[in-house]
């Protein structure tokens, strides 16, 4: 079962072998959990969201048209589930947390001459990156996670978020610019050593 592709497993499930779906769950659960955690930042809610997304995916499996990958389709369901949870919380997807003014303008050329050469490889730099990532608003955190972690294309992210390509590019730019600005601010305040 482990060697089967996602589409082969889906065919088995649709053919009546329901238990095969557990393999799909095990295969995708950690990445799904990571996306949910990055968007919701609450373990209990993230676990419920992931479980809900898999159940919805199973129940709609007959409508999966296999034009995209299963993971993209699952992410789309999960993204919507997380959006609903955030909406119930009264937390807008695009709300800006602490870094409202940290965003770079598209035509701005930041000065990186003050950043030491080797700093971007150190352990402290890694910590600052994760801190800044955790501070992004849910929408941008989700998009950054899909882009960096899963190496998804702009088009795939557009499919998941239900956004046109131009919107994806704009949001991804914003996510990366905010992330970078957050890191730079932390490096500046922490005065990282080489």
């Amino acid at each position: 079962m482990e060697s089967l592709s996602d589409h082969e497993i889906i065919n088995r499930v649709l053919g009546g072998n329901m238990r095969s779906f557990a393999t799909l769950v095990e295969r995708h659960q950690d990445k799904a959990m990571t996306l949910a955690m990055r968007m919701l930042r609450n373990r209990e809610e993230a676990e419920e969201a992931v479980q809900d997304a898999f159940v919805r995916a199973f129940n709609a499996l007959g409508q999966f048209e296999k034009r995209s990958t299963f993971s993209t389709w699952l992410y789309r369901i999960l993204f919507n589930v997380c959006s609903t949870i955030l909406s119930k919380r009264g937390e807008p997807m695009q709300s800006i947390s602490s870094g409202k003014n940290e965003e770079e303008r598209e035509d701005e050329i930041p000065d990186f001459s003050e950043i030491p050469d080797l700093i971007v490889e150190g352990e402290e730099f890694r910590e600052r990156v994760i801190e800044a990532l955790n501070e992004l608003p849910p929408l941008y955190s989700g998009i950054a996670t899909m882009f960096y972690l899963d190496d998804l294309s702009y088009e795939e992210i557009g499919t998941i978020t239900g956004s046109p390509l131009g919107t994806v590019k704009a949001r991804l730019f914003r996510a990366r610019a905010m992330l970078r600005a957050g890191i730079v601010r932390r490096i500046g305040t922490k005065e990282l050593a080489l």
Binding site: V25, D30, P110, I130, F173
Partner: protein, 186 residues
């Protein structure tokens, strides 16, 4: 110094910048330490996020999902065929409604039974409810069109009215059947 903008730089890293501009950026990078550092910073950020351990889902997740799932969900063959043919059938139905309604309006109200019978035949596959809806629709159309007749270019407005109502019926049917029969939305 023609520094690439931040947006250009991101697209350059993602291999999505146009060929000509990519060449310009590459030659610029050979001369500009600040922009090389910007690139290095972004690539390092990506490496770090990619190498970060995933959040672990609960070990019992697969079992929990399997407890909560319903029966196998593949639609019956007939339903899948109907789904594939839905748009085509809907289009035929709309055209038939428009044609019949126009014929009825043009010919007056002296053949109501014939019109009603033809509509029933065309719309039958879309269920009895849809058929009844069409009958009511045609009846209402002729009633309303009679009232429009006295206001200038009556024939034109009758046609516009019928087309709009037909679209309304189709959209309502789409919503009613939840895309199962008629795939209007992507």
């Amino acid at each position: 110094m023609n520094h690439p903008t931040t947006a250009e730089l991101f697209e350059f890293i993602d291999n999505r910048l146009g060929k000509e501009r990519s060449v310009q950026v590459e030659s610029h990078l050979a001369e500009c330490a600040n922009c090389r550092r910007r690139i290095e910073f972004e690539r390092s950020t990506r490496r770090i996020v990619q190498s970060e351990p995933l959040f672990r889902a609960p070990e019992r997740l697969a079992a929990l999902v399997m407890v909560n799932v319903a029966a196998p969900t593949r639609d019956p063959l007939l339903l899948r065929l109907l789904s594939k043919l839905g748009s085509f059938v809907a289009m035929i139905a709309v055209l038939a409604v428009i044609g019949l309604a126009i014929a009825k309006v043009s010919g007056g109200n002296d053949q109501p039974d014939k019109t009603s019978s033809s509509i029933t035949q065309v719309a039958a596959p879309l269920s009895e409810a849809y058929t009844k809806g069409l009958q009511i629709f045609v009846h209402q159309t002729s009633t309303i069109s009679q009232s429009i007749e006295n206001t200038g270019d009556a024939q034109f407005w009758k046609t516009v009215f019928i087309v709009l109502l037909s679209i309304g019926v189709l959209v309502a049917a789409d919503k009613l059947f939840g895309r199962r029969f008629i795939k209007l939305r992507s």
